[in-house]
Symmetry: C2
């Protein structure tokens, strides 16, 4: 199960990190998971299925990623994306790797505040 | 203009940070901005107005914050929340302060990856 498929409400700690790049490109957990699953499965349709997402939605996300970045992050084989297979380019792999690194760096950076709020939250819940 | 009021697409760097605490409480940029504006204005209705949000929506967010945390983060005076004024409790101020600190810590933690992706994004845009 990828992070964005977990129930939003069950997370303690970092739940959603979106990073923007100017007015045309951003990466968030859903886009990162989609890149990762396309890389793992070699297929946009299979990646969509595993994310519980329509093929049309996954395809439009791939288009948004490629056009937003300005160069292909996902390449599709000739003959139709659904059947022909898809690969994550070197640029796409770099962005996915960096996004995962940013998630980890964020988890570390916020850990003390998360622990402090968790303690006061538990006390508040215990006291009611 | 508070961070969540900026167009989502105009941000370079951290665009959205949501932090969860178990299955009943989370803080994101909209909730933080609402707490901050209630603290500044002493009024849920004025805070809602400044966020371009209905009073009903702001009130339901306040309820979700208070019930989710398990103790009041916002307290309303007797006689009606809209007229009677509202204050952010010490617990609410602590959570707001910690959320702003987590945003800053995250910006620092992701800065190198943001710079690297920004460079490759500019190169990709320049090359098309």
């Amino acid at each position: 199960m990828t992070p964005s498929q977990r129930p939003k409400s069950a997370v303690t700690g970092l739940a959603h990190l979106r990073v923007g790049f100017g007015d045309d490109f951003y990466v968030g957990p859903g886009r990162a998971d989609l890149l990762e699953l396309i890389g793992e499965t070699g297929s946009i349709s299979e990646a969509a299925k595993r994310m519980g997402m329509s093929y049309k939605r996954a395809w439009s996300l791939v288009q948004a990623l490629n056009q937003g970045f300005g160069a292909p992050l996902v390449e599709t084989a000739r003959g139709g994306a659904a059947q022909g297979g898809a690969t994550v380019t070197a640029a796409g792999q770099d962005i996915l790797r960096r996004y995962r690194h940013m998630q980890e760096a964020t988890r570390l950076a916020i850990a003390d505040d998360v622990a402090a709020i968790t303690r006061s939250h538990r006390e508040a819940k215990g006291g009611t």
